[in-house]
């Protein structure tokens, strides 16, 4: 075996080892990214799910939030009071279940800042596209992540407005 082949094999082995380590022992930042990605996956509906499948997805989606999770989106929609607690999130999602058609939710440009061992902040853009529609709605969100029982959960969601909005008269 000549030298270049040995080098190639060594590089492949090292790359595979790094890939495996990244997959099986992810950093806290990657765990948070996976949690946020999982939340987006649970918020995505093909439109062909039955009610049981929708219920299961809603249950799973609510499970991404802490018991006392706080959602504030008043900067972008008329929902002044926001949502407080996992149970109210579950109730709102369940109430909206009959109206859920096909919906594709994706997260983009996630940046994670680890505050301490059990707390982190994440900034991201979430986009949503209804089934059969070309129009995509996008919004920036700031998340406060909390680690509970080894799992990263969303403690707070706040819609971020990256610009000054004029006052509509």
């Amino acid at each position: 075996m000549n030298r270049s082949i040995r080098l190639l094999v060594a590089a492949t082995v090292v790359a595979a080892a790094v890939g495996l380590a990244w997959h099986f022992w992810p950093s806290e930042e990657n765990r948070i990214r996976k949690a946020i990605g999982g939340m987006a996956a649970d918020a995505t509906f093909s439109g062909k799910e039955g009610n049981f499948a929708k219920m299961a997805k809603i249950e799973s989606l609510a499970g991404h939030f802490t018991e006392d999770a706080d959602i504030r989106v008043d900067k972008v929609v008329d929902l002044d009071s926001g949502l407080h607690g996992r149970e109210s999130i579950r109730q709102v999602l369940t109430a909206g279940m009959p109206f859920i058609g096909a919906l594709k939710v994706q997260v983009h440009d996630v940046t994670v800042e680890i505050v301490d061992e059990t707390h982190a902040k994440a900034l991201m853009v979430a986009s949503a596209q209804g089934g059969g529609q070309k129009d995509i709605a996008a919004q920036e969100f700031q998340l406060k992540m909390v680690k509970e029982k080894g799992k990263w959960l969303v403690g707070a969601v706040e819609a971020v407005l990256g610009y000054r909005k004029p006052v509509i008269q």
Binding site: D109, E140, K165, P166, I168, Q169
Partner: protein
């Protein structure tokens, strides 16, 4: 197939470019440098010339047509060329242009949903953002960006009155806006680092249209097309 006087067995007059060399049989062979486009003829013996062969001189080492299609006549040069193209694409689309696909109606009719375009990151390096520029504006990153038009510049006062834009109390001529809804908004004083950005499609209520004062650092660049 070449048909000439040689096919009748008549001696062929020697051309100035032909050379006579002793062949393997000891007899002289006529070598004619043929152009590439007659390669198909070059390998075929001409009738009536049993004591002479015509060789192209390249037929033996010529790669198969599928090799030429796949990797070219010179694979090493092709590899270098592909690497150069890949590098060019990485540099252009990684550092200079951001390819975009319009995914909302806010810039209609100028830019329609599904249209493909690109934002030039370097455009503001040479000329500052100007009124009327259609620009890409970043959100948390550059994967999802706003596509809007600059209507207000730093330090200006701007307001909407019955769907018309007023800059420092002067109405702004906007030929790109069709059928604007009667937006009414309070006057806004732009800061030294702020640009007022709005889409061309103002047929919807103002609250449903993302617009306002964005910082200079949020402007990525002008659209190319």
């Amino acid at each position: 197939m070449f048909i000439g006087p040689e096919s009748h067995g008549a001696p062929r007059p020697k051309k100035p470019c032909e050379t006579e060399e002793p062949g393997p049989s000891g007899r002289n062979e006529v070598k004619t440098p043929l152009p590439n486009w007659v390669d198909g003829l070059g390998s075929e013996p001409i009738q009536g010339m049993s004591d002479a062969t015509i060789e192209s001189g390249e037929t033996g080492s010529r790669p198969a047509w599928w090799q030429v299609v796949l990797v070219g006549r010179n694979p090493r040069f092709t590899a270098v060329r592909i690497a150069a193209y890949v590098l060019l694409v990485v540099v252009v689309f990684g550092c200079i242009l951001i390819p975009i696909k319009v995914a909302g109606p806010s810039m209609e009719p100028t830019y329609k949903i599904g249209q493909v375009n690109a934002v030039n990151r370097l455009s503001f390096k040479f000329h500052p953002p100007a009124r009327g520029d259609v620009v890409g504006v970043r959100m948390a990153g550059e994967s999802v960006i706003y596509l809007k038009r600059i209507v207000g510049l730093p330090g200006e006062r701007i307001r909407f009155r019955r769907g018309k834009v007023y800059i420092n109390d002067e109405p702004l001529d906007e030929p790109y806006v069709r059928h604007p809804a009667p937006w009414n908004e309070a006057e806004m004083q732009l800061g030294d680092d702020e640009f007022f950005i709005v889409g061309d499609n103002r047929t919807m209520p103002a609250k449903d249209h993302t617009h306002g004062a964005f910082r200079r650092s949020d402007l990525i660049g002008r659209v190319v097309l």
